[in-house]
Point group: C2
Chain length 349, copies 2
Amino acid sequence: MHIDRLETPVAVVDLDRLEANITRLQAYLDEHGIANRPHIKTHKIPEIAHMQIHAGAVGITCQKLGEAEVMAQAGIRDIFVPYNIVGRAKLERLMRLARRVRMSVTTDSAVVMRGLSNAAQQAGLALPVLIECDTGAKRCGVQSPQEAADLARTIARSPGLHFGGLMTFPNLEGTDAFMRETRALLAADGIPVECVSGGGTPCMWQAHTHRELTEHRAGTYVYGDRHTIESGAMQLEDCAFKVVTTVVSRPTPDRGILDGGSKTFSSDLLGLEGHGLILEYPGAQFYAMSEEHGHVDFSPCPRKPEIGERVTVIPNHVCVVTNLFNQVVGARNDAVEVIWPVACRGALQ
Amino acid sequence: MHIDRLETPVAVVDLDRLEANITRLQAYLDEHGIANRPHIKTHKIPEIAHMQIHAGAVGITCQKLGEAEVMAQAGIRDIFVPYNIVGRAKLERLMRLARRVRMSVTTDSAVVMRGLSNAAQQAGLALPVLIECDTGAKRCGVQSPQEAADLARTIARSPGLHFGGLMTFPNLEGTDAFMRETRALLAADGIPVECVSGGGTPCMWQAHTHRELTEHRAGTYVYGDRHTIESGAMQLEDCAFKVVTTVVSRPTPDRGILDGGSKTFSSDLLGLEGHGLILEYPGAQFYAMSEEHGHVDFSPCPRKPEIGERVTVIPNHVCVVTNLFNQVVGARNDAVEVIWPVACRGALQ
């Protein structure tokens, strides 16, 4: 079936491009001896995770336990959750997972570490725990190599835990110095840093310039989006994800209304102007959204769409868009090949 | 079970406040002889729709056919979809619904109207169709009373259709003049305007000042959110929806990270500063989000939270937040009473 026969708005993944994106990043990281641990938060689909593993990824990254639970049930055997897991219920879920698959997590504090240690000890496990380092992004993470080294020493002597290395996001200018200094501090104590895990899609082709990194986590690269294109990391021709919409209203000569709004595209701008790129009308300005309406100014376009015409949108930020769809359609040359439930969507933290 | 025992992030609805909100708007609209047709896009939960009907609503409003399909299956008998339904597949779905329940829709063009007429005629139905009027919001809608009257005349003589009246969103300063003029134009042809449907939560208590309106559609009023509070239409004490989160990181003395980000709260700002109001720390600035992390500056707060502490967030825009949760918890005095799947979430347009 051609995708033109599907009701809109519909999320379509170009399978040829998806496969090419998976292969291309794997080849690059292989070439530079960097382990690939793709982040599945972008697609949330087990079959795509398996494609990534099959291409050579060492395992996957999930951002929440609920995603890891779905992926473990789908047969993925090595899952990293770079998140501070806090509270008894979540620790129990983590241990249930860790009995079945190789789980690893992060901490950036002694408080979180003690929770992990108690739970893992009780479960009779040796849980790999990496230290999240704030190397400039100002989100979570220890603030200095000294703090990282102190926490690493505590992890190394904590029952139930295994010191798994260092983690940051994204790879930044200050990343290498931070990691190098931490490694030096720990070397003095004979504590090896077995993994230094970085991440990010816009910075993925520079991963090899961060000499400290042994592993890279990218998510968006499988699909691509307007933000990734703007960053220069992917070309429009690489973009494997699109949302096909229908023009449902043409109230004025210039204004067109699409059948997708903030509940289809999210409100993420990521610094961009407008809410997406309209392929058939590249000059059009997708200037506003209601929840189920996209408001587009077609005045810069010589030809303007008719009511009922389909237009294709490359969204600003694909990760939050797939999270709004129950399913995405996998297609080759716009012929439907598979319909994937977005299996991890809405999963518990 | 107390909600403190639920894993975070969790969406909690205060049932006492929910009931009070439903009762209060119904009483106000009853007092002014305005029909109440609440918009279920906010909650997407059949039981709440039934509560609204039981309180006196004449029917409900859905923003897409997928929502109407769920609600019809849950026993709601009168559903208005104020949307241009375009394309064969959607028209067939609409007709299947219209055979079972009273469906009404809108159009703002002859193109959409012809599709509705053909489908309804074939189905042997008389489908009520209202005209969407752009009375200042600049979304969909005919642009002038003359255009509205012309389209109404065409609907009135189209097989399969019944002219159901006029619709706009939200109620604005120009709404009454537009509706009055359209009504006058149609009166000359003997075409009655049986319904003038307005909408909006921020403007709900002024509905009676729009003398042309015979019906009001509000969605957010059931829950309330930070935007509604800022608009003055509800007080914080009326707000029936909250997201309980956990502080998972305190990387610096001032910064705290919550376990909810843009995949929990969406990025909707609606003109507000920050991504939500933190009840326990009203001075805190919820200044940024990653997908699963909320970034909060606690520097204005004399006491600052510990890792593992729960904090309660009133989101900016509740409609897009419920759309991100698989379920919401209904509680009374913070004791769990019901767990509702967000049944229409992700439903087809």
